[in-house]
């Protein structure tokens, strides 16, 4: 990972007015239930999926479409470093937003005289970190495939296709199709619930392996796609 690239990505993402508005929307909406019923705790915040999407959208694709990638890759930076730096920056940014969100929620609870459930806070933080890392990996792959904000389009298309396939499978009673579509949907939102770990329950190894394999596969494929990509306006969009 390249620290200069990570910091530049974070700065770029957090200075975009449109992104800021979207992040504000997704970040502050969950505060409403906390304000109304502070005893619901951090569970009311929901997950950070949409925050991660807001930060990740176009993470590579926008560099491809704008032409800034050429200048960047003329520097001593490998394409793998570039992909990992973008992934790391988006995951870090999402995690920082979650920390900010939780700090505000904790503040509201304290002001309203409700004790802060610290064990729940640790769980929420851990789950959010894993979801941020997973979502950023999926978006890194989709963004390496499509220029501009095409990654969001791809995400939506895959999501919609998986939903349709699932429904078709259910209608036709094709178990394999329902299962395959379900895996595809889970692949779009790689998450791992840390509750069993924190509460001393049995470890769901399948979930751990599925999460890790999704993240590594997405990042690996993103690097392969970027390594194969040719960069030139003379190459007819290649």
């Amino acid at each position: 990972m390249n620290l200069t690239l990570v910091l530049a990505t974070l700065r770029q993402r957090f200075t975009s007015p449109i992104r800021l508005v979207i992040m504000l929307l997704f970040g502050w909406m969950p505060m409403v239930p906390i304000l109304m019923a502070p005893r619901t705790g951090f569970a009311a915040l929901g997950d950070c999926y949409f925050l991660a999407l807001a930060l990740a959208a176009g993470m590579i694709g926008q560099d491809l479409s704008s032409g800034t990638l050429q200048l960047l890759l003329a520097r001593p930076v490998t394409r793998a470093q570039y992909v990992f730096s973008r992934w790391g920056a988006v995951a870090t940014g999402t995690f920082l937003l979650v920390v900010l969100q939780m700090s505000c929620a904790a503040f509201i609870m304290l002001v309203r005289g409700v004790p802060v459930p610290w064990d729940q806070a640790a769980l929420h933080l851990g789950n959010s970190a894993l979801l941020a890392l997973g979502t950023a990996a999926v978006m890194a792959l989709l963004s390496s495939l499509a220029a501009g904000l095409g990654d969001l389009g791809l995400l939506f298309t895959v999501f919609l296709s998986a939903q349709v396939l699932e429904k078709v499978g259910m209608f036709k009673s094709w178990e394999w199709l329902v299962r395959g579509a379900g895996e595809l949907l889970r692949g779009l939102k790689p998450e791992l619930d840390l509750a069993p770990f924190l509460h001393g329950g049995p470890i769901a190894w399948f979930a751990v392996v599925a999460y890790l394999s999704t993240v590594t596969l997405c990042l690996g494929l993103a690097v392969v796609v970027m390594n194969r990509r040719e960069l030139s306006y003379a190459s007819s969009g290649n």
Binding site: V77, E230, N238
Partner: protein, 314 residues
Amino acid sequence: MDGIRIESLTKTYRAGQVRALDGVSLEIAPGEVFGIIGPNGAGKTTLLGCLLGFLRPDSGRVSIAGREPDDLVIRAVSGYLPERLTLDRWMTGLDFLAYHHALARLPAAGRAAEVEAALARVGLDPEAGHRSIRRYSRGMLQRLGLAQALLGRPRYVFLDEPASGVDPAGVVLFRRLLDEVRAGGTTVVLNSHQLDQVERVCDRVAFVKQGRIEALETLHAGAAMARVLRVRGPAGTIGEAVPRAALEQAAQRAGAELREVSPPLARFAVPDDAGAVRLVQALVAAGVPVAEVTPEEGRLERLFLEDGPPGGPA
């Protein structure tokens, strides 16, 4: 060798339907300023893309100081200015230079001073450095791009249309910077349509057409007959009262070359400005009535015209 070596480079697009480069071989010596010219669609940008490691050739090889062009060791000592300059517009000019200074792995210790010096070097004032890039004019962007390419005194510089959109003062500055870079021993590859600029700054030029190198011209040391002068006399003189032999003798004395006689005009090739002065003096001394002397198109323009009008696939 520390120079650039291109061996039988071939590159096609659209599953081989468009042949952008067709067996290009070249050697660029260390410290040389090398120009690539040619009509649109000739393969110049593709050649530059292969030199930078952005494009993978179908066959052939590019090596820079014996390494692959995308080797990080080479990238650490290279600078690049693309033709379609798109910068990170959310940054200020100084931020942008500091960002590339860091990406180039240059020491962080003197970063602030170095990026300010780089900005001043391309004639941008410190106030502009603190301004957001989205407020820069086309010429300012080009200057900033050039400052970025020259950060850290690179050993190899690749410039794609560096003076496009730059005002005349910027063009002069660009030439001065290239002279400085050349004096520092940097190898420069320059892709440009501005033939007069190429002619002034390059040591050698490759004329690329339909993916092939049609001609290699040496412009500096040892370059012969770089300019053509058209000499016109009053009616009935040149080519009539003054025979071709007399014009040839005068040209010989001045170290020039008679190219063509078409009364009342004669075309002479001269090596440089001093050669032009010598020719006029020799003609006057020989009693040739000279009414008008006008320079013809530059040497590279002639190369373009002699090879047919620009065209080819886009």
